[in-house]
Symmetry: C2
């Protein structure tokens, strides 16, 4: 089983509203509600690839119940730690081609709740083959939370991938995760000096075993104990980049579980990332694009 | 106990978003979630006035659970009939002074579910002193639903108030309700010929015992078996008119229960409506405004 951790689980809501009146009354023509957060998206991709997954993290209130109900409907096993506060909703108001995104402040987590989270996480190490820890932190959770979780995984011999930004990314290497996966902008913010390769080496110097940097249509850079690899994309896939990083991370997690060599795991991760761009909803990927692009990715 | 019926219960969500970017990412500074729908607002006002209330109607899905959880928090007794579909959310995006309202299409109700609703309503007639039936109908509910419920109330000798618009308003008098409460625009749509007094008489001719027409700052018109009365407001209250009609209806319901003479019940209803305009949230009213305006309302 691959465990995905989403400390700031969300209900992703999309409103289709043709011709929005931003100072009046609008009839929403279509509503979509779906459990979200980066770890949830990773789990969707892994499950679609036939992999056993378990979704954990923090969820609470009526919105947390809605998140769990959607995972139930999707057949995704989950074991959230409950919190008293209401989980966040993200809202997209789509008035094609314009799209407004609204991010709620989200819940405040207590120290006791995060303590229960680390306890649950530790218990789950007995059955996890790999762990994916990704996304933003809710308020109240320590900024080194991902380092803490990665360190617990390392103690249990479970490989961990961390996909984070800002302070959580800066702290992550301290937990000695197997892979840290920033995109190029996130890496540049975390390590302002030098280019992507220097940044990746800096995170390795702080404790990360490998660093994979996603660079959009320019592919991937992996700095690993086996060497430095770059995945070059044969063409640019047009579409919705939201969720591409999560699909890519799902590919990396499969590689960890299968202990495949870096060039192979990087190829699959790059193909899954590109195939997610072709799918309209985060957590999905386009199987045709995946099949087409996978054999044409070049590793150098 | 006064029973309020909300067939299309809603979760009313308000996002404060200073400086909305309608084609970008927005951080919501404040989120309010509150059970809504006109019958819920009426119950809030009645409860604030110390009256025993019970909220019923149709609610389902995670949003229905959120509605019930909020009523629980507010200490408002409720006995909703469950539906399979998810209840609707209304969203206000407030970027002062601009305000965009988004109305979801809402649930589709099955015939069996509405059958359970009429059954529950009939059972509750044993303990209800008065009934308030108000708001919109969800899809799937017959357009004469309010007439059906009012007729059940009449059979049990329970006075009923109907506050509706469109087809439900046109059908309502057929159930012989004690009071039908349209506003001036709703009445003009239901009875296009003549003014408010002629429209009110027409609804009485179709079966309504009394008709109260709300006319905003111009006060109220009541056409009743005791005669025709007008409530004149001493001044215009500035604020948010959403929910003013619900507060007014709460006043009328109290009058029914107390069997007070029409001039007295009209004065209280008009004062509660005006006091609700002074409160920022539907379902609340300003007690100072109520105390100030009540003795200055003139009935003619």
């Amino acid at each position: 089983m691959i465990l995905t951790v989403t400390l700031n689980a969300a209900l992703d809501v999309t409103y289709q509203v043709p011709g929005v009146d931003w100072d009046g009354v609008n009839r929403v023509t279509t509503v979509h509600r779906r459990a979200g957060g980066k770890g949830v998206n990773v789990a969707r991709v892994l499950a679609a690839l036939g992999q056993d997954v378990l979704v954990t993290g923090l969820a609470g209130g009526p919105t947390g119940q809605a998140i769990e109900a959607d995972l139930q409907r999707a057949g995704l096993p989950h074991a959230f730690v409950g919190i008293a506060a209401d989980s966040r909703t993200t809202l997209v108001v789509a008035d094609s081609p314009r799209t407004a995104l609204f991010n709620e402040p989200g819940p405040e987590v207590t120290a006791a709740e995060f303590g229960r989270m680390t306890g649950r996480f530790t218990d789950l190490m007995a059955t996890a083959e790999a762990v994916v820890i990704s996304g933003s932190l809710p308020r109240g959770v320590p900024l080194d939370a991902y380092a803490t979780l990665a360190a617990i995984a390392a103690e249990h011999g479970v490989p961990a991938i961390v996909d984070a930004d800002g302070e959580p990314l800066r702290h992550a290497p301290g937990g000695r995760p197997s892979i840290v996966k920033p995109n190029a902008e996130e890496l540049a913010r975390a390590v302002p000096e030098g280019g992507p390769e220097e940044g990746a080496q800096a995170l390795r110097g702080r404790g990360a075993e490998s660093v994979v940097v996603s660079m959009g249509a320019e592919g991937l850079l992996a700095v690993t104990p086996e060497g430095i690899f770059r995945a070059r994309m044969p063409y640019k896939v047009e579409g919705n980049p939201t969720g591409a990083g999560d699909s890519l991370v799902a590919g990396l997690a499969l590689g960890l579980v299968e202990r495949s060599p870096w060039p192979e795991r990087l190829t699959r991760a790059a193909a899954l990332g590109a195939a997610a761009v072709a799918a309209p909803v985060a957590g999905d990927f386009d199987r045709d694009v995946y099949a087409d692009i996978h054999p044409r990715i070049v590793i150098v």
